[in-house]
Subunit: 145 residues, 2 copies
Amino acid sequence: MAGAAAALRERGLPLTVQRRRLLERFLLCTDHPAAETLYADVAPLVPGLSRATVYRTLETLVELGLAVRIGHPGWEVRYDPRIERHHHLVCDGCGAVSDHESAALDALRPPRRIAGFAVRDFSVQFRGLCVCCTRLRSKRAPHTR
Amino acid sequence: MAGAAAALRERGLPLTVQRRRLLERFLLCTDHPAAETLYADVAPLVPGLSRATVYRTLETLVELGLAVRIGHPGWEVRYDPRIERHHHLVCDGCGAVSDHESAALDALRPPRRIAGFAVRDFSVQFRGLCVCCTRLRSKRAPHTR
DNA sequence: ATTCATGCAAAGTGTTTGCAGTATC
DNA sequence: GATACTGCAAACACTTTGCATGAAT
């Protein structure tokens, strides 16, 4: 919390009541909440809190490097006609998805069971930046997303 | 395509014009299309094609085991104040998705780079049957989905 | 003839944006 | 007092659903 407040100050960003309350709650979360969840938790403490503020605050935190985004807004489900086990490289920059075959990963044997869940197969999703997007980033000032 | 047609017939599902065209196109795709993309590609060939049909067809293919879904419908972006990764258990039976935290997986260090792709993080998707569905299967006749 | 798929349009989520007003620095 | 944030409501993107019609077996 202290670190977060400092990070905001450093950028000249006001520490509003809404942000303080959201931070207090968010930084304790261990369950990677969605915006809606955080809104539900904090709204009772901040009369009139708007969902938009929650969304905006969370994105600000990501920009400040105080939070990690899991997934991307506006990202659709994609489908793959290849059903054999294979893995994916998902670009955080442009959304491109490419396949990745790996003997090493294929050699792994997943656990049969995870907390009652009967595991049948697995696949790994690597997130990062594709070649094109890497090139773009290195030119301009580094800037998240 | 032949295999797909057979799979449909086996289940007594009609091979409609729309499905045929969608299949013809989809099975050739190597770029993990989203529903919208497939719609754009096929709509010119099937006058009056509806988006709903595309969505429904793709989900049918997943149920038949002819396609895999990358991502989950209705999934919101989640945020994490710890820079910690987490994984997913996806039930082939009911489609439920639950989170899975694993110290062992967290300890893994992904490669920095895969064929030019700058890896930032990864997450593992385990597919199988959740507790409820496992119970159902063991009682009733096995029934894929 | 039966069964299931389709199109349409409406509704449902999750998220973003423009704007006028307001709090923070 | 300047700047940036907030709430509101409307817009937006993606996806699902109900229903009457129509097509495949």
